[in-house]
């Protein structure tokens, strides 16, 4: 099975180069075909691993000291390969229409880095050795930096890419520290169960993992780079970043947790609290967001929070010896990883089609697109229903499973059950956020010429949208379908998870089918009904600008009910006097954690660091000298340290 995976790695890694070599349409089609072939090969390996539940390993010599080329394809790794390959294939098809070389200067470069990013992510997931893991991790981080910076003539894009680059390297530093701790405990850089760790060492490992992987996954408050990066990348890249790359961070955390036989109970509670509070914060910010892609990015942060909470439930279950809770938590986490990657990929593709058709990401300039873009609109609505975790689409299944976990623990009197109420608030806010997005982008009438001149997306884009929305609906209408792959990952799935997924199938299907039939009946019944303008209480000349805007829809929550910290920054001059002249209004992009917490702190440290500015000469030789001196110092330390011990 590893052979299929290696073929997949190689194919995806090179998939972008034909587009670079043969400029024009032919190169792009070849490149998309290679990416799809690679994904098919990878998914073959994934399916067979999930079916057999077996773990495949391979090791080769590597000349680097202390390193080995060790790969391990087990069910947990396979689970996280699913979004990488599915979204990778879908994105490479979608890009044929969305980011073609005929329209975008950066198109060949984006294809090259996209292939490298996909291969890098897959390599992270199957790496079984810390050094190889870090190499793959850096490949992923750098490739995604170049992808975010695709539209590099735009200052906002450059800033977002820059912040991302800094953030990802801070995270990598955390991982360096984490692997050092692991090596101190296990005596090797090979990734595997922690032998015997004291409370302090294991807690240090846990917290470093949360920091390092959490920065990549976008756990609040380590998410500050995420909305900007995901909004400013080309939309098919945003889909990969949200749908697959965040999950690689979650994979790291899930893998680290799996190394401990009996994690302390507070880890579970901590993860649940961090996950759900982060999800709440993300939703409060999403409801005030004026940029549709940033709003989707906030929703990704929310969903990461939900997945982290599910991992927390699993950890709590393992700590307290509850097999049911451990199975439910892990199954909910993995299922939500899959589900989120499908519906968020779909939503970012949809946002990309809207952006392509209208040229704007500002929600308040859009409207009425469902009439002009029926396919994009309908698939976006499917994605919105899934992202609001409503029955009929896939988001509901995994979120219901997490609720179920909280309810299973509730009768025992554990405080963890309170998570259900917090999740309920988050879920209801997600409905607000997605009705707001759907309503202002797709429904009503066009608020600007951007929207009134919109056209439907290209066939390749519509294909990708249709493919993902079919998966979203199938996974939503057949909740029990993933039981067998899940049981390879989370032991106990068949006993504790499958019964619940079986019983929710019927109500979900009845709702979907009967609503759809009734809708068809109503559509048929009103086909010949007279059509007239919307009744606006007798107002003679209603205009599109009188509609409720995205800001007014979110006003109650984002400007009245939440603490000032979360409120959007609104600049404007109110018309005054008997003969008002000018008025203006603008909502600034807002990321309160970065602006109010990190930026001031970073500025202070930057001032202090000025004293060492003379080190930065900007000449390559001097930097090579620094690296050389550091290496020599390190070797000296390695030689001298044992001698010191002998002297004592």
């Amino acid at each position: 099975m590893l052979a299929f995976l290696l073929v997949a790695l190689a194919l995806t890694a090179i998939s972008g180069f034909p587009a670079l070599i043969f400029r024009g349409r032919k190169g792009e089609v070849v490149s998309a075909a290679i990416a799809v072939a690679g994904a098919a090969s990878g998914l073959t390996a994934v399916v067979s691993t999930l079916r057999s539940g077996a773990s495949h390993t391979a090791t080769a010599q590597w000349q680097l000291p202390n390193a080995a080329l060790a790969l391990r394809l087990d069910p947990l790794a396979a689970a996280f390969l699913v979004p990488i390959f599915i979204l990778g294939a879908a994105a490479s098809i979608y890009a044929l229409g969305y980011w073609p070389a005929s329209e975008q200067r950066s198109a060949p470069r984006v294809r090259v880095f996209l292939g490298i990013l996909l291969a890098g992510m897959a390599a992270v997931v199957v790496a079984a050795h810390a050094i190889l893991f870090l190499f793959a991790w850096e490949t992923m981080a750098l490739a995604s930096f170049f992808l975010i910076a695709a539209d590099d003539r735009d200052g906002e894009v450059r800033e977002a890419a820059w912040i991302y680059l800094i953030a990802t390297h801070i995270g990598t530093l955390g991982l360096f520290a984490m692997f050092v701790v692991l090596r101190l405990l296990n005596g090797t850089f090979a990734l595997g169960p922690v032998a015997e760790a004291g409370a302090i060492a294991s807690t240090a490992l846990f917290l470093l993992a949360i920091f390092g992987f959490g920065l990549k996954a976008g756990i609040v408050p380590l998410h500050f780079w995420l909305p900007g990066a995901h909004a400013n990348a080309p939309s098919h890249v945003s889909a990969i970043l949200s749908g697959a790359m965040l999950k690689v961070g979650i994979y790291g955390l899930a893998r680290t947790l799996s190394w401990f036989d009996a994690p302390p109970g507070w880890w579970g509670g901590f993860l649940v609290a961090v996950g759900l509070l982060g999800a709440l914060a993300a939703m409060l910010l999403a409801i005030g967001e004026a940029d549709m892609k940033r709003a989707l990015a906030w929703s990704s942060i929310e969903n990461v929070g939900i997945i982290i909470a599910a991992l927390g439930v699993a950890t709590f279950g393992r700590a307290t010896g509850s097999a049911a809770l451990a199975a439910i938590g892990l199954a909910a986490a993995i299922l939500h990883v899959w589900n989120h990657s499908l519906f968020k990929g779909l939503l970012f593709f949809g946002a990309g089609s809207v952006l392509h058709a209208t040229g704007t990401r500002r929600v308040d300039l859009l409207g009425g697109l469902l009439q002009r873009m029926p396919v994009t609109g309908a698939t976006f609505i499917v994605g919105a229903i899934a992202a609001s975790a409503l029955p009929g689409a896939n988001g509901f299944v995994s979120e219901a499973l997490l609720y179920y976990g909280f309810f299973v623990v509730a009768p025992t009197g554990s405080m963890l059950g309170l998570g259900a109420a917090l999740l309920a608030l988050v879920g209801a806010l997600a409905v607000v956020s997605f009705v707001r997005l759907t309503g202002t982008i797709m429904l009503g009438s066009a608020r600007s010429t951007h929207a009134s001149h919109a056209h439907e997306a290209e066939p390749s884009m519509r294909f990708a949208l249709g493919f993902l929305s079919a998966l979203v609906l199938l996974a939503g209408l057949f909740p029990a379908a993933p039981v067998s792959p899940l049981s390879a990952i989370a032991p106990g799935t068949r006993e504790h998870v499958a019964p619940f997924l079986d019983v929710i199938t019927l109500p979900v299907q009845i709702t979907a089918v009967s609503s759809a039939l009734l809708l068809l009946a109503l559509v048929a019944a009103t086909k010949r009904s007279p059509r007239h303008v919307t009744w606006d209480c007798g107002y003679a000349a209603p205009t599109a600008r009188m509609q409720y805007s995205a800001r007014s829809l979110g006003e109650w929550i984002s400007e009245r009910l939440v603490p000032r910290f979360f409120r959007p920054k609104v600049r404007g001059t109110i018309p005054a006097g008997s003969f008002p002249t000018s008025a203006s209004f603008a909502v600034e992009t807002h990321e309160p954690f970065g602006e109010s917490i990190y930026k001031p702190a970073a500025a202070t440290w930057a001032r202090r660091a000025m004293r060492f500015r003379w080190l930065q000469q900007g000449h390559l030789p001097s930097y090579l000298l620094y690296i050389f001196l550091t290496l020599v110092a390190g070797i000296c330390w390695a030689v001298v340290y044992p001698l010191l011990g002998e002297l004592q």
Binding site: I504, L506, P507, L518
Partner: protein, 299 residues
């Protein structure tokens, strides 16, 4: 079979609840009031009428009414009305119950936004916001009842044998008080909303359906009546112990539901709609009250 009978019961009985509320309000105001069965005539009339559809709208506009009638019907199947077990009952059905209503909310508010009307947008914004604030109250209540009844389904919450009033009466009172507020908010009753007013700016639910007409509007009215019935039955089911005999339980639960209707009528007669800014405060209060219930049973 029993499921069908229960569906019929909810379909047929729910408009009567509206009649009871209106009659109570009329008596309190010293009026004769509309006939007890007026809601039936209204719905029947709407189904005979044609409709006018806005030019701005799409299929989403009709999805709202379709889901608005499917959801309460399906949700009612999760209630054990005078039976030891609901037609649809399983561990964790409360999650599906709440999320069905969330689906209905998504579709009705999207339908409102589909018209492009400022009034309907206003109603949608309020409906979404207030429902979001009410949601934790429901779940706190479920958590408390899960602890009290030892089960995690509506069937176990609504078929307790009465001993729960001895063991956890304080928590139950808190849950019921909180849920009654949620009932009023979710079903657009005073003090959260005024179903009678025709001044659109003060309305929430009514204003969202300004553009619906004919059968689609009939679906909405009927669905709203059934939703009210389901919420009333939920609260009554938690309050009343079950005897096990349908001959006793069925009249008890139906009588209880109508009694809740009378209480709603009394509330509507006795107070005015709250100022809009006070509504979120009351809903947060409801959530906290239910939160106290959880704390009481957790010890």
């Amino acid at each position: 079979m029993r499921g069908l009978a229960q569906l019929l019961l909810v379909l047929v009985a729910s408009p009567l609840l509206l009649g009871v509320i209106n009659r109570t309000k009329a008596i309190m105001a010293g009026r004769r009031g509309q006939p007890l069965f007026q809601a039936y005539w209204d719905i029947a009339k709407l189904f005979r009428k044609g409709s006018v559809i806005s030019l701005t709208t799409t299929w989403i506009f009709l999805l709202g009414p379709a889901v608005a009638i499917v959801v309460p019907l399906l949700a009612s199947l999760m209630l054990p009305l005078a039976a030891p077990r609901a037609p649809i009952a399983f561990t964790g059905d409360v999650i599906v119950f709440v999320y069905l209503f969330a689906l209905s909310r998504f579709c009705t508010t999207a339908a409102a936004l589909d018209t492009g009307s400022a009034f309907e947008g206003m109603g949608a914004a309020r409906e979404l916001t207030f429902a979001a604030l009410a949601e934790p109250a429901l779940f706190f209540g479920f958590l408390a009842l899960a602890r009290v009844s030892g089960g995690i389904s509506l069937t176990s919450f609504m078929t307790m044998d009465g001993s729960h009033w001895r063991s956890a009466s304080a928590a139950l009172v808190l849950v019921i008080a909180s849920w009654f507020l949620v009932l009023l908010a979710e079903n657009s009753r005073v003090p959260f909303d005024d179903p009678n007013t025709h001044l659109e700016l003060t309305m929430i639910h009514e204003v969202m359906v300004l553009d619906h007409s004919g059968p689609a509007f009939g679906f909405i009215l009927w669905g709203a009546a059934m939703k009210l019935f389901v919420y009333c039955a939920l609260i009554v089911g938690v309050i009343l112990p079950t005897s096990g005999s349908p001959l006793v339980d069925l009249p008890a639960i139906l009588g209880g539901v109508l009694l809740v209707g009378v209480v709603i009528g009394l509330v509507e007669s006795g107070m005015a709609r709250l100022r809009l800014v006070r509504v979120p405060q009351l809903l947060v209060t409801a959530s906290l009250v239910a939160g106290f219930a959880v704390v009481l049973v957790l010890r």
